[in-house]
Every structure is written in C-alpha cells, then in structure tokens.
C-alpha cells in the first residue's frame, strides 16, 4: 500500500488546509538523539546511550516490550524528563536543555490529559490562551483544528462527555494547534477498543501526511507499528535493537529479538548459524534442494485467506508456517501429525548474535 493512497483525494480540501502546514527549513532530520542516556537514581539506565535520526516528515514508531524505555525516550524528546547524558536536536537545532514549549515539540499523553473543567473548544484553545490571544480569535482557530479532526460538532462538550476515540481527537487537535515541528504520541491507541484502534490509526496517518510533520509514536503493538510506520525503531532493555525503514526491519531483522518481536519470522539454526526465515516462505512437506526441520503440528488457525500452522520441534522451538488456504486444503494436515517444515536456503537471513 502506498502512502499516496492515504492522502485525501480531494484537492480543494488539501489546499484548504495547507495553511496548517508547518514551514520547513533546510534541515535533514526532524529529530535527532545523540548518545542519549537517562538514569533514574543509581539503578541501571532506563535509556542507555541511544542515537537516532528521524528523517523529515516521517511517521516513526518506537516499538518494544513494556519497560524498555520507550516512554522515557519520548519524554526526553518532549522536555518533560531531563537528559542524563547526550544531546537532542529538533530540526537540526539543539534543544537538550530547552523548555518543552521552546522545542517545537508537542506531546499527546497516553490518557490524553484533557483538562476536565474546559470544553473541547477551550481545551484546544488553551495554548493560545496562555499566549494571550483574544477569546474570539483563539476560539476561531481552535474550531479549525477541531474540524481537522472532525470534532467541531462537539466543540462545547466537556471531556468526560466524550468517548475515548473522541477524546483522543480533541487531544490531537490540542497538540496540533501549537504548530509542532514534531508530534510525540505515547501509546495513543492503547485505550481504544480494537475497532476504533484501526480506525484511529489510519486517521493519525492521514493527518501526519496532510501536515507533513514527523510523528513519533510509542507502541508495544507490532501490528500498529507495521501499519503506521515509515520508520520503525525497535527497542529492548534500554537500547535500540534496530532503527530502519519498516520494510527493512521486517525483512532483514538485525537479530533474533527483532525477528521474534516483529513476528512473521521463524528464528532457527541452520548450519550452526542463527537465521530468520519469513513464515510465508516456509511450507509444509519436503522436497529436494530445500532445507527442513521436523516437528509435530501443535496448532492450526484458519484465518480465511491464509492458514497459520504451528509446529513444535523436538528441541521445543515453535515454528510457524503461513499457508494459502488452497495449499492447506490440498494437504489437509491435522493437529498431532508429524510434519516437515521446509524453506529455500536463499530465504534465510543471517542474524547477528544478541
């Protein structure tokens, strides 16, 4: 799926909102972390010496298990957490010790943190109010941003009279009205039900493309990261495992952790080396010239157009085969059967030791 398809089709609408676009200067990266470390107290670092460069106009996801330091990284970018060592740059300009408001970042909080005593409109207008913009002017502007997130019809509601998805839209408008150079989002979709989550993530992507600024989005969901990202940063244990365009991370994971965490890969031993093979390149059965491993079928999940078959090897590893439904019905394997899983040597991708 190309990004162009996600852009709004109607040209007038796009040009009508072009005034919301952030002016860009001659910088190459929207955000840079240079050897950044964060320590709380004396324990191990929450973020250990990470460096990262996020190209202009990227949708970047920070992906990793809980506690790996994603939120801390985001909060350091936002200026809500001091940096222990290293430097942070936004649009090529150092902001390491600047106040959040002077950085050109804006943060959307995990629970949205909408002010409960203000209407949606006044929530969105808040940043203009603290800058002393007159009431009429700031409300008019706030209304435009509520339109951008399709919430203008509920402008006078209080936050607790809105659903989770609606609150999220308001929080987004409240962040965007500050004209951020980079928008930071901490697990913005985790409070939503699965249906809304999918809907809102395409909305986020649409708005990011429309505004042309970088979004840095923290998530622990692989699906979310794959669906949204131009660039994925996989983190584990306070360090970056891999930071690359989404396709590169998926197809050529640097190590077993990335391969396993992102899914879609079997991690196995081949000729004494650790390699990954995509689950959709593996098949049941054996033919000459193919590499293979034997196992017992532990699980078969029919998913309509594909079938996911899990094998348990004698060593206790789990391997997955994604089969098309036609192959599956032709072979008709059963749970408990002993089966071979095979793949071509050229589909192996060599992993670095973790």
């Amino acid at each position: 799926m190309s990004l162009i398809q996600l852009k709004p089709q109607t040209a007038p609408a796009a040009s009508g909102k072009s005034h919301l676009k952030q002016a860009t200067q001659g910088h190459r990266f929207d955000a840079e972390l240079v050897a950044v470390t964060k320590r709380y107290g004396t324990g191990p670092a929450a973020v250990a010496d990470i460096s990262l460069r996020i190209p202009r106009g990227s949708y970047c996801c920070l992906l990793g298990p809980s506690g790996c330091g994603k939120s801390t990284t985001l909060r350091m970018l936002a200026g809500h957490e001091d940096v222990s060592e290293g430097a942070i740059l936004i649009h090529g300009e150092e902001v390491t010790h600047k106040l959040p408001v002077d950085r050109g970042t804006s943060m959307m909080f995990q629970d949205y943190a909408l002010f409960p005593h203000l209407s949606c409109l006044d929530n969105v207008a808040f940043s203009l109010k603290v800058r002393g913009v007159a009431t009429r002017e700031r409300r008019a502007q706030a209304r435009q941003y509520l339109e951008l997130v399709q919430m203008d019809h509920l402008a006078d509601r209080l936050p607790n009279q809105l659903s989770g998805g609606q609150q999220q839209r308001v929080a987004l408008a409240r962040s965007l009205i500050t004209r951020p150079k980079v928008l930071l989002l901490d697990e913005p979709l985790s409070a939503l039900d699965p249906f809304l989550r999918v809907k809102m993530r395409s909305e986020l992507k649409r708005i990011q493309k429309e505004l042309g600024i970088s979004f840095i989005h923290v998530t622990h969901s692989q699906d979310e990261a794959l669906a949204l990202s131009d660039m994925i940063v996989v983190m584990n244990d306070a360090k970056i495992m891999q930071a690359a365009p989404v396709r590169e991370v998926f197809e050529t994971p640097t190590n077993a952790f990335v391969a396993r965490f992102l899914g879609g890969q079997n991690v196995l031993n081949s000729n004494g080396r650790e390699v990954s093979v995509r689950t959709d390149r593996c098949r049941l059965g054996h033919a000459t010239g193919l590499r293979s491993v034997e196992g017992q079928i532990a699980m078969i999940e029919y998913q309509g157009n594909i079938v996911r078959i899990t094998l348990q090897t004698p060593l206790g590893d789990e391997m997955t085969v994604l089969q098309s439904d036609t192959d599956y019905f032709a072979q008709n394997p059963q749970i408990g059967d002993t089966a071979m899983m095979s793949w071509q040597a050229s589909d192996e991708h060599i992993l670095a030791p973790t």
Binding site: A78, H80, L99, P100, V101, T105, S106, M107, F109, Q110, D111, A113, L114, F115, P116, H117, S119, F126, S127, K129, V130, R131, D156, R157, L158, Q161, R174, S175, T178
Partner: protein
C-alpha cells in the same frame, strides 16, 4: 426476571425504623426550642405557650436580656470575623502545603504525621498551653494573635489532610500537558490546578468556617477581652432564666443552615456552569 417486583427484606424495615428514630431524636427537641423561642412576653422556659411573639428576639438583639445575657450581637460579630479570617488562612495554607507535598522532600513524613497528630490533641490543653506560653513571654492574648492561632491548630490539620488527598490524586499529566502547551507556573496553577481542585478548596473553606465558629476549647483562653458566640451561649445556658436562650438557638440554627445552603448553592452553580457550556 428483572421486572418482577422484589420483596423488601426485613433488614430494610429495621434500618428504616432506625433512621426514622434518629431523625426524631435529632430534630424533635430542636423543634421544641424553635417553638418556645416565640413564647409570649409573659411566658416561661417550658410549655405551655403563653401567647406568641418575637419579644425574645427583640430582647436578644437589644442586648437587654437582663440576667446572664451579654451582648450577643457583639459576640456574633467577633465570632464571624474570626471565622472568616481563619477560613481564608486555612484555605491558603492548606493549598500551599498540598502543593508542596506533591514532591517528596526530606522530613515529609514527619510534617504529615505532626499535622495529623494535632487532630487528636485534647483541645482544652492546646488552648491552655498557648495562653500559658503567651503569658510566659509577657504577651497579651488577643483574638487576632493567640485567638486565630489557637483556632488554626484545629482547622489546619483537616484542611491539610484534605489537600494532601486531593492533590495526591491529582494526575500530574494535567500539569505536564499545560507545560507542553506553553503555560508558565502561574498559569498552570490558576488555569489548571485551581479549577480542578476547586471543590476541595470550597470544602476546606466551609469546614474551617464552621469549625472556627463553633470552637470553644482552644478559643476561650486565647481570645482576650470579649466573648465569642459559643462562650456567650455556654454562659447563657448556665445563667439565663428566660426564653432568650431559645431565641439564640433558633438564630444559631438559622445561621448554620444558611451557611450550608450557601455552600451548596455555590457548588451547584459551579456544576451548572460546567454543564451549561454543553447546552449551546
């Protein structure tokens, strides 16, 4: 099944009777006081009523109640003046303490427990101790020094406890969001924190107002010259022989209820103002 009418269990009737008994015990004797306060000029301290009049209220307000009746209006003025000052001070100090207490600092627990402990100190000795200390230092006790100080030892622990709880539960993300949107410390306080904790602030102010107005144990030795209302009424109870005392009861109740109703009105006004934004 859901539409079938449920039979009320026995416990419902037991508890309902208990509540009814409590209400009668609370309000019936008070009703006697209110009725007797309208006793005719020739009437006595008990039933039957000898005609109806507002005679005893007039006596009360003219401060000519005779035996045992002091200057009630002056006492009321002294009490309410002190109550307002104490309420405002308690509110300001409690909010400030609550704000400070959101961050851990060395000795934070000590501050917390010493504040709480003063709730259980016997009030009469606290009052005595303050008076004694003033005496030792050669200072004169006075309503606006020792008097207000003594009352603050009573109202502040409650106010601070309420604020510790309210601000302890305050989601720090609100403040971070405000910072992120460019608000400075002053704007964060006035535009975000205060509106959100306003119900707690009103609660502290009203509670301090009423407990100051009623306080006697700590107050009596420390106000200096001139009695406060509770002191005046205590004196009246032991000395008065006329229905003036019932008039005092009626008026005191009226003032208390007015305060409660006023604070409820303020609360509902606030709630209305919030929901009216949605009405447009």
């Amino acid at each position: 099944m859901a539409t079938r009418k449920r039979k009320r269990p026995l416990s419902f009737y037991v508890l309902a009777t208990l509540l009814g008994g409590y209400a009668i015990f609370l309000y019936a004797p008070m009703a006697c006081v209110y009725v007797l306060s309208f006793q005719g000029p020739q009437g006595g301290m008990s039933f039957p009523m000898v005609g109806w009049s507002t005679h005893w209220f007039e006596v009360l307000f003219q401060g000519t109640g005779g035996q045992g009746v002091g200057d009630i209006p002056a006492a009321f003025r002294r009490s309410i003046r002190m109550a307002v000052i104490v309420a405002v001070l308690s509110m300001i100090i409690s909010v400030a303490a609550g704000m400070a207490y959101r961050r851990k600092f060395p000795g934070a627990n000590l501050v917390f427990y010493s504040a709480i402990a003063s709730m259980v100190l016997p009030g009469i000795f606290v009052g005595f101790g303050i008076a004694l200390t003033f005496n030792l230092l050669g200072w004169r006790v006075n309503w606006f020094t020792s008097g207000i100080g003594a009352q603050l030892t009573w109202t502040l622990p409650f106010g601070m406890l309420i604020m510790f709880i309210v601000l302890g539960r305050f989601n720090p993300a609100y403040e971070e969001a405000a910072t992120d949107l460019g608000a400075n410390a002053r704007q964060r306080f006035w535009m975000v924190i205060v509106p959100i904790i306003l119900p707690g602030i009103i609660a502290i102010t009203m509670a301090s107002l009423t407990s100051s107005y009623e306080e006697i144990a700590r107050t009596q030795l420390n106000v200096g010259t001139g009695n406060t209302m509770p002191m005046e009424i205590t004196g009246l109870l032991t000395a008065a022989t006329s229905p003036v005392i019932f008039a005092v009861g009626t008026i005191t109740t009226f003032v208390s209820f007015s305060l409660v109703i006023a604070s409820l009105l303020v609360m509902t006004r606030l709630a209305k103002r919030r929901s009216s934004r949605t009405a447009q």
